[in-house]
Structures are given as structure tokens and as C-alpha cells.
């Protein structure tokens, strides 16, 4: 686990000003700067630093899968050899239909899966086909797998990062 980079009050103010989105205007960072009360240069420097340290994963567009017709979303879960879990996770994470891949603890015997990959497709059949691609990639190091389709969103408030 990487250590937590130091975030100061100005960084927090920048996060607060941008967590809902970047202004859509000719000088968006200047607008953020005006809200925070520092110069545009400082905002850009700090955001650049947060991007470098991984506090910001990336800046860009987050598509709404459902609106774009990607209505099949499956959480694929796999029981893979610990010794190869890292390299397999990395390989699965690079597939372009996988949005996230994680290693997580097992809860043996009820839950034996340690590799999770969210797979997206236009419908369930497409997700099933994509799970087959993941299964093939995992090869001999994978003992079992399943797809858990979501049937209902029970709550979705989003993460409020800073108050």
C-alpha cells in the first residue's frame, strides 16, 4: 500500500471546487482558482502534483454506461493462485471492457474468489462472452469463476470526498 500523500487545506478547497466537475469554460482552472482564492497557476501546479501522486487518478470524461447502451454490467469474480494473482490482475485490468480489477481477501469456505473484475457490455450475453475472454486469459491459474449481475441499484449517493 502506498503511503498517503499530504493534502493541505488549499488542496482540499480545490477538491471541493472540482469534485462535481471541472467548469466548462475558456479558463476552467482560473474559475477554480477564483473560488479557492489562489492564482490559476497555483491551482494548475497543485492539480498537476495531485495527478502525479495519484490523488487524482485522471482528468476526463466519465461515460454513463447505461445511457450509452452498455446495460450489461457484471462483477466477474475468480479464484486464482495467490502466486500469480498480481500479474493476472494486471493483465485483466488492461482489457478494455474491464473498468476495475481488484484483489480482495477470500472468506473461505463461503467465498473463495480473490480477483474481481467489473466487465461491461451491451447486454448480459456480451458480458458472458467477455467473461469467457477473462477465463481464457487466466488459464491454468484459475480454479473457478462466476459472474454476479446486478439486479437493482439499492443506493447510489456517490462518494462525497470532502465536505
Amino acid at each position: 500500500m502506498s503511503h498517503t500523500p499530504v493534502i493541505d487545506d488549499i488542496d482540499r478547497a480545490i477538491i471541493h471546487a472540482t469534485q462535481a466537475g471541472l467548469p466548462l469554460s475558456h479558463s476552467p482552472y482560473e474559475e477554480v482558482a477564483a473560488e479557492v482564492g489562489v492564482s490559476a497557476d497555483e491551482v494548475m501546479q497543485r492539480m498537476g502534483r495531485m495527478l502525479e501522486s495519484g490523488v487524482i487518478r485522471r482528468i476526463g470524461a466519465v461515460p454513463n454506461h447505461y445511457a450509452l447502451g452498455f446495460r450489461g454490467n457484471g462483477m466477474t469474480v475468480w479464484d486464482v493462485d495467490e502466486a500469480h494473482a498480481d500479474e493476472l490482475g494486471r493483465a485483466v485490468g488492461q482489457l478494455d471492457f474491464v473498468s476495475h480489477a481488484y484483489l480482495r481477501p477470500r472468506h473461505v469456505p463461503e467465498w473463495n474468489y480473490n480477483l474481481f473484475a467489473m466487465a461491461h457490455g451491451r447486454d448480459r450475453d456480451e458480458v458472458i462472452a467477455k467473461a469467457d475472454i477473462i477465463r481464457a486469459l487466466l488459464g491454468e491459474h484459475c480454479r473457478a469463476g462466476e459472474i454476479l449481475f446486478s439486479t437493482r441499484i439499492l443506493k447510489k449517493t456517490g462518494l462525497r470526498l470532502v465536505a
Binding site: L22, Y29, R71, W111, S150, L161
Partner: protein
Amino acid sequence: MMTRVSSIELDHTDRTIINALQGGFPISAHPYAEVAIDLGIGEEELIARLKRLLDDGVLSRFGPMYHAERLGGGLTLAAMKVPDGEFDQVNEAVNAFPEVAHNYARDHDFNMWFVLATETPERIEETLAEIEAATGHKVYNMPKSQEFFIGLRLEL
């Protein structure tokens, strides 16, 4: 599946914008102008299209994506095996916790999956214990030990 069946019409330029902007965005004085040049459109058109894509819900957001744990809070995925007859009441009890950010029903024995986001890492264990006490069911904590986050690229 409870989805809004909408058919949003995207033209070639919309698709190009969405494909291009999933990868990254400049930090500069006039970033939209820069991106617009690469896309062969005007800055105003790019901004107007992004506004429309956000208004129509094609994009859920545009801007920096922050890494929650690196801001000092706690985050985990947790799952429960809820008996069918109790699903609604357990759902209500779980959702009542403000720390529960997302909650999904899934077709499996492990049928309830939620993300907990807490102000401090210590609050994760406490909240899990409180949810067990409130529901009378075991909560399986599945914090990530490793993350491979490349980000989905929907090729449109």
C-alpha cells in the same frame, strides 16, 4: 434490471469527443481550446457538446477523478447473504448508514453488495460491526489489497 431505456443519438463528433476524453485532459490555461484543435473542432463547439452530453446524462461527469483513500478516508466493499424474506428490511437498515455510498442487489447467495466510505480508516470496522448489529447478519468485508485501475474505455 431497472434501467431507463433511452436512445440517445450521438453523432460522429460526439463519439470522437467521448473516446478522446476518457484518456485524459490537459492542465493548462485554455485546455478546451487545446483539445478542440486536436479534434478539429472549435473550442465553443467542444464546450457546448460537453454541456449537452452532461445534460443528457451520456456523461455522468467531467473533471478530475479523485482517489478516495489517498485523501485519508476509509473505503471498502462489503457483502451480505440476506434471506429473501428479509431483503427489504435489511436493505433499509443498511441504506440508513450514511457511510454506505453505493448498494447493489446481485443475483447470488451473496445478494447485497455495498461500498462503505468513511471519514477515517478506523470507522470502517466500526461501521461494519454496527451494520451487523442492526441487521443481525454477518457482513463480509472485502477491502481491496491491490487495485488494477486502468479505467474503462468504451469504444463508441
